[in-house]
Symmetry: C2
Subunit: 592 residues, 2 copies
């Protein structure tokens, strides 16, 4: 059975040595001193390891069940969820006005990683709530905030997002769910939504569904869409629970993974709904939820890889099989631990360098969100908006790939459910799909974000990379192993951007055919930048004689691995992109 | 629910236009006329589509069950297996002396692909039998052949391979199963074997286990290993079934996929075993089984991708979502089919170009085996021995990746078990692990096969590529799109081989750290060669006005896609390889 140990030391390194949060002028960051964040992360880590993780396999095995219209979560989930609630973890980075603790988002992200690594399915009940809260915070009326937020922040109630219908996934304009305005200002919501994560369960006394629906008069396509609050149980004026709303669970899906989370078909049969924000402006409100959710999904990708790696590493150190070709390492045993074998080590280094790079990337992204929200930094907002599809698409693709790699370390045992490695891969698989399948992320990046605001954000991104290289130009130790590969990869990325600009004007397919490659290229450049920053931080700590020497040297060595073995992928992606649309589009659909 | 249509036309193209089997001088090939192979493939395809495929989801859902020591396969498996038996399919490429039809191995391979695509778990009961037959054919005594082969060829009995023990997988030298010689020449086998595919079931009246065990006096490690026949039910001198042998099923494993195949823990408690071949030479005999099994596993990798692709393609043509950016394609509908979107098409082309390339590669490999077995062609034997780890490792890695890609086309529905796409990925996953995990294949390739017979086989491989390029040098149509990329990729592969030779002498880790990349590089070169051969065949058929124009043009277009978008991977692999052992080995195990 797998175990989980929260990577507090690695997180502290990113927060303090790389991002230097306590020195930042972002409001609220000054209090993020080393001791304080260590205490928070330590506490969250204990909950993750001791309470959430032991239920991960239980959730997978038991799944959720629907009985007489009621969804029951796996054994132990209620008690564990109560501990998340009682610890106030959901409100960690939510406003104090509604009962939260008001810490920066970067802290919520770090804690989120731990909870997701420990038990992704269980954490989703909280994660969806967090997204729904953000939407209400950004677009809800004062009354809606007063009515719903305190109980959602405290996790007394949870939230959901209802977008997809059987025939309308990516293309929300085709949705059929209707909202009929009523004389009292409410709406009657009717229709069917599918793939609703945490759609129903027994963990909270009420569920606040955020539902997209079409109200009359909005026009065709996505223009007619509005966002509604549809509580499972109606809320009286005094805040107490009233009668059951006309919303019910049609079925729960039998999925490849995240069995502990109830993925529901939700039926709305004239349910009472409350408009959120402006009529017919629902897509904008939904994007608030989706952007946060996309970061959260990117995090799921690498967080599953993190726990899978932890276990693969432990197995590689214990499993005795074969001998080191350069000389016996474990003369007292019948064989050497498999970590001595170069290809096993290659596999582990792939995982380690991805997970640690992805963590730094995600934390950096979270700090940009803090900069945007807490001090109105529009440049930071632009940059994170550009990188959101990369965090979602690249980290979930690679995160899944690394779960598969971790499974491989176990040989045949990796395929047996009892050992738990299959679950990491099966759970991680969904992250490539939901909140916009990764192809849609690539489309968002290349079709929308690159050109946004006249290309200002992508130029700012390149300037960030260049500035780092300039600042460290004279540093020989960093130069050959980090700056040179980063420069080369960044140059490839720029060349791809140029290709899109030149060809994409005449033929949008020339850009779109290369969009997926571009997303991956940019992911490598981002991780390359993070590794260069981590290496510099580790090297200066080493030079100053600060910190744990073995740990810091391992950071440098892991970074060198990523630069040497993964950044060369950008040249391949560039060549694919430059082959243009023709090879991709040549075949008529009929000739496939 | 997925469907399956056997790719008879594609197979015929490979057999007749590319390999030109009927014109070959390999004994038995002359009768492989177009009409004949079409009839065989058509018949096999019908069985696959109509009988085997509908049970694929049933097998996944129900799995096998162990009750009172007896394993029951899923509903319908018995009847379907009886149809395979009655059709004589198992004996298709087995010797007529034992009831087979004596057709070439390449035909067994083509039929095998269909059966695996349709129902991998069910086909394994037959596949393992085939491997066991090969071992007995190669190493068994005449009496053993007479006793066991006719009933195994006819599938009245099935076979298994028993290698792995809980603490001994790759490192078979550590095995503990013992064989005690008896006065009557038999042995008493005692020990526990795990991961025994098709280890027990209700499909046949007897099961012939081939078991590796250590007999006294053989020395340490693998030297002491011998191979034994251990029937589930002992066979009387007259061929009738006698008493039950002391072999039992400890449990069946709960796995990520191939639920329809019983993966058993087998307990041997002083079971009667018959020595196969020479005492203490069991590893050699086992390799006979394993080499065939490895080709069969490579086939599983791409066969799962083939059926996953077929379904993803159908979905992409039906699912309406969004509009073609270059202009509406389906004005009568609410949206265009998603196959219009460049990134969906990129995904489909990845799958299509892989599957068709892999099929040609595998059939070519099978024809080399026929050349080796049927006319004693040692060069062919050397070449297939070199390529076996590539077929196993590369085709299963990519096959799984393509199943995941096919699942992605379905969006959220790809994650719901009901739609069947998850099963393809879960079933395909095992192929990367069993019969030697893919890291072991890479080790076999670089650590053993490259240098085998003084490097003669790898030189012959490069000569095969060069000869093709030379022969077609003047062909402009082929030149730019096929020969140039093939030349470049082959040069990268040679450079990697040179690097290994130069560095590997001093430091074997320098070669081993790059072994996985080399395996993938070589896979790309092999598929590149196959695509160049297929393109030439299609172009000459087009020039001669033979065949289906749309089909042939699609072959050329698909090949151009593979060359343009996948062969550039070789340069990346070369750069990784040339970064050497240092980045991989730098970290001490304690600092991970």
């Amino acid at each position: 059975m797998p175990s989980y140990t929260a990577p507090v030391k690695d997180m502290q390194f990113v927060l303090h040595d790389v991002l230097k949060v306590a020195e930042s002028d972002i409001p609220g960051y000054a209090e993020l001193e080393r001791d304080f964040t260590e205490a928070v992360l330590g506490e969250a880590g204990r909950l993750a390891s001791e309470v959430l993780q032991p239920l991960n396999a239980v959730g997978d095995r038991e799944g959720c069940r629907l009985e007489n219209g009621v969804v029951y979560t796996p054994k132990g989930f209620r008690e564990a969820f109560a501990q998340i609630r009682e610890g106030g973890w959901n409100g960690l980075d939510l406003p104090e006005d509604y009962g939260g603790q008001g810490l920066p988002y970067v802290m919520g992200t770090a804690v989120g990683e731990m909870f997701v690594s420990a038990n992704m399915a269980l954490n989703m009940y909280q994660g969806l709530t967090h997204g729904a809260i953000s939407a209400i915070l950004a677009h809800g009326s004062d009354e809606q905030k007063r009515t719903f937020l305190p109980k959602m922040v405290s996790l007394e109630w949870t939230g959901t997002m209802n977008l997809t219908e059987p025939h309308a996934g990516t293309d929300l304009g085709m949705m059929r769910t209707r909202a009929e305005p009523q004389a009292d200002g409410t709406f009657r919501i009717s229709g069917q939504k599918i793939f609703i994560s945490a759609g129903d369960h027994d963990l909270a006394s009420n569920i606040i569904h955020l539902v997209l629906a079409k109200a009359p008069g909005g026009g065709e396509g996505t223009k007619g869409i509005s966002l509604f609050i549809v509580p499972k149980i109606l809320v009286n004026a005094d805040g107490s629970l009233g009668p059951r709303n006309a919303v019910s669970v049609g079925k729960i899906e039998h999925k490849m993974g995240i069995h502990g989370n109830a993925t529901c078909v939700m039926n709305y049969d004239g349910a009472t709904g409350y408009l959120v924000g402006e009529l017919h402006k629902g897509m904008r409100a939904m994007f608030t939820m989706m952007n946060e959710a996309r970061l959260g999904v990117g995090l799921q990708g690498y967080a599953q890889a993190a726990v899978a790696y932890e276990n693969a590493l432990a197995y590689a150190k214990e499993r005795l099989q074969g001998r080191d070709v350069t000389g016996v390492r474990n003369p007292g045993g019948p064989a050497d631990p498999i970590i001595v074998h170069p290809d096993v080590r290659r596999n582990l280094m792939d995982q380690k360098s991805f997970v640690e790079g992805a963590r730094a990337f995600t934390f950096w992204g979270a700090s940009l969100i803090d900069a945007a929200h807490r001090r109105g930094d529009t440049a930071a907002e632009g940059l994170i908006s550009l990188m959101t599809p990369v965090i979602k698409g690249f980290l979930t693709d690679k995160g899944f790939e690394m779960c598969v790699a971790a499974q491989q370390v176990y040989g045949g045992h990796g395929y047996i459910e009892e050992w738990g490695m299959s679950q990491f891969a099966r759970d991680a698989r969904i992250a490539m799909i939901y909140e916009g399948a990764n192809g849609i992320q690539a489309l968002d990046l290349v079709g929308r974000k690159l050109a946004q605001d006249g290309g200002r954000h992508v130029m700012a991104f390149f300037e960030t990379v260049k500035a780092f290289i300039r600042e460290n130009e004279g540093d020989e130790a960093l130069g050959r192993d980090f700056l040179e590969p980063l420069k080369a990869a960044s140059k490839d990325l720029q060349a791809a951007g140029m290709f899109f600009m030149q060809k994409g004007m005449k033929d949008p397919n020339a850009a779109l055919a290369g969009s997926y490659d571009f997303m991956h290229m940019m992911g490598h450049v981002c991780l390359g930048l993070m590794w260069a920053r981590m290496a510099r931080a580790a090297m200066s700590a080493l030079a100053a004689g600060r910190g744990d020497e073995g740990f810091l040297k391992a950071k440098v060595a892991t970074g060198r691995y990523y630069m040497a073995r993964h950044l060369p992928a950008t040249a391949m992606h560039l060549r694919r992109i430059e082959s243009g649309a023709e090879p991709v589009m040549a075949l008529e659909a009929a000739n496939f």
